[in-house]
């Protein structure tokens, strides 16, 4: 997706310095791609086509190559998402512990209604994700970088209060 306004460069000043430091960890520029994409997403909230082109230029890769990598990994957003991006694990170990009920509760209480859509007020997007590696603490939920364990449908309204 292209940005609606002109893309603002991310890798200048401190960010460029930080990326350069990261690049020293690897023998190829290509290997700094995942870290660079994380930096881009942290700065802009999502990864646009222009963002991919910028990263490509900085690392001597092609935009098409970068796009191939971005679309492989599910944690990179390719379009803007709600301010609070809610990911609920529904794979089998959590599924048998009520995960789908947790999803329904989030959809209801955020006003999103549907998976993947952003709420009208722009605050929330809710998606289902695969195993988050906290199966003994069903159901784990991520809200942006917050990893919350043991969420139940009943706890959802209270949890959402933290995210205004």
């Amino acid at each position: 997706m292209h940005e609606t306004t002109k893309h603002e460069t991310v890798f200048t000043g401190d960010a460029r310095t930080r990326l350069s430091e990261i690049m020293t960890r690897y023998p190829t520029k290509r290997a700094a791609l995942l870290p660079a994409l994380w930096m881009l997403q942290e700065a802009r909230g999502w990864i646009s086509d222009d963002g991919m082109t910028e990263v490509a230029q900085v690392l001597d890769l092609t935009p098409a190559y970068v796009a191939g990598v971005v679309t492989f990994y599910t944690m990179y957003h390719r379009h803007p998402v709600g301010r609070h991006f809610i990911q609920v694990c529904t794979t089998t170990p959590c599924n048998i512990c009520g995960a789908e009920g947790v999803v329904d509760a989030f959809l209801e209480h955020t006003g999103c209604g549907e998976l993947g859509t952003t709420s009208a007020d722009g605050r929330f997007t809710v998606i289902e994700v695969e195993c988050l590696g906290a199966c003994g603490f069903a159901t784990p939920v991520m809200v942006n970088e917050d990893f919350i364990e043991s969420v139940t449908a009943a706890k959802v309204p209270e949890l959402l209060e933290r995210y205004r």
């Binding site: 960890r25 023998p27 990994y73 794979t91 048998i96 695969e130 003994g136 603490f137």
Partner: protein
């Protein structure tokens, strides 16, 4: 100890001793608890000495493959002509498994120490600890711990001897289960799509960046310092059943047990005791229906098989399954096996890297057939089709994701056929709308 629970007396607490202990996360706290002595000893032993000790211990890979760690390290070139690498596989994404997360967020320095000892043994200059992107807390804790390690001269410019030239870096993943496959992990570090590679070449010959590489799981590496300080013989002695399976295993128990969590037991521990004794039995007093003991990629056990299964590599094979990663998923009588097998197939379909035809197309087709059955439109021949598909998906691809999708389908139809037939004959009402 299965944080947040207290250690059960029948646990053999080695790796999990400090789970829940906030001070153990810090360098000072770790040293106070005896940390980094093993590293010092290891440097004294030298690479060959370390490898020998680990070989004696019988330590096997704890990520799922169970390959002898000492043997794997000995595949690395003895004479170093190129850059060597260690990759620590902290991508933990196998459904049912949540042990590496605990090791990293409670005892980060244990992992660092294990990595450095391994690095020394295989003459690797650099370790990349590949942590899945979703593991916010482990990432934070490990980054801080690595910084402390550099600061306090454990590794890097402030260190001395061989550790001075070594480096440890954290590499953050971005959401792909398949990156837990060792060759896909290496591709991901290289900045590529996480596609598994065909073998040969094997990592010890040409791994990350084409250089000799060893990949080890977090739990495997965390055991190494203990093997150095207490000796390989000690570790070998932690064995209840088959002498080829030694040491302790962190079993991640989840699903329908009263007390889900990580439990550390000696290899060969009976699954029955784990469930009914350590985990407090099935929740709500329900009856046990099925157990997947090794993460979702291994065959499902029914109640009888589960209660007779010993938890080590050979014991699980004998019971018709595999120990795998030790992610114990417990299903009680309320579980809809057909739906959950569909949900697992959906997991594999979502995670398929798309290289191999059987996996890319087969996982998706498997999901559709199962959804058709759950929507009340299934036919008996669909079960034959699922089994035929599963056969086509087994043993024919670059990696075993395809086989992993087939395993629950095959074992599920074999052992819970009546549940499938209930949907097909209409005895059980559909639970899904037709897709």
């Amino acid at each position: 100890m299965g944080y947040p629970h207290k250690s059960h007396p029948r646990e053999t607490v080695v790796l999990s001793e400090y789970f829940g202990d906030a001070e153990a996360k810090t360098y000072k706290g770790w040293v106070k608890r005896g940390g980094y002595k093993a590293l010092e000893q290891a440097v004294g032993l030298g690479p060959a000495g370390v490898i020998e000790e680990v070989k004696i211990s019988g330590l096997r890979g704890r990520g799922g493959a169970g390959f002898p760690a000492g043997l794997k390290w000995s595949f690395m070139p003895k004479e170093k002509t190129k850059q060597h690498y260690l990759c620590c596989n902290a991508d933990e994404s196998e459904p049912g498994t949540f042990k590496d997360r605990e090791i990293m967020r409670w005892t980060p320095h244990a992992l660092i120490e294990g990595c450095l000892i391994a690095q020394h043994a295989i003459q690797a200059d650099i370790t990349y600890i590949y942590i899945r992107g979703e593991f916010t807390e482990p990432l934070e804790v490990m980054e801080r711990a690595v910084a402390e390690a550099y600061e306090h001269g454990v590794v890097g410019p402030n260190a001395s001897g061989p550790l001075k030239e070594m480096n440890i870096y954290i590499h953050k993943g971005a959401g792909a289960y398949i990156c837990g496959e060792e060759t896909a992990l290496m591709n991901s570090i290289e900045g590529r799509r996480g596609n598994p590679r065909t073998k040969p070449p094997f990592p010890a010959a040409a791994g990350v960046f084409g250089m000799p590489t060893t990949i080890n799981n977090v739990e495997t590496l965390a055991a190494v310092p203990h093997i150095i300080t207490k000796g390989g013989e000690w570790y070998k002695g932690l064995c209840r059943s088959n002498p080829k399976s030694t040491g302790t295993k962190l079993l991640s128990v989840c699903g329908h047990v009263a007390k889900p969590g990580n439990y550390e037991v000696e290899m060969g521990f009976p699954l029955k005791d784990l469930l009914y004794d350590l985990c407090g039995g099935i929740r709500d007093g329900n009856a046990l229906k099925a157990v997947i003991p090794g993460g979702s990629s291994v065959p499902i056990l029914n109640e009888e098989e589960a209660e007779g299964c010993l938890l080590d590599y050979e014991g699980c094979v004998e019971a018709g399954t595999m120990l795998g990663s030790g992610g114990v998923i417990v299903f009680d009588e309320t579980a809809d096996m057909v739906f959950q097998i569909m949900r697992l197939a959906k997991f594999y379909a979502h995670e398929s890297c798309a290289q191999c035809t059987q996996c890319r197309e087969g996982t998706a087709w498997t999901v559709r057939i199962l959804q058709k059955i759950l929507a009340g439109n299934g036919e008996m021949k669909d079960l034959d089709l699922l089994l035929d598909l599963a056969e086509n998906m087994t043993g024919k691809t670059i990696c075993v994701l395809s086989d992993s999708c087939a395993a629950p389908v095959v074992s599920g139809i074999k052992k819970f056929r009546s549940e499938f037939e209930a949907y097909i004959t209409g005895v059980r009402a559909p639970v899904m709308a037709a897709v």
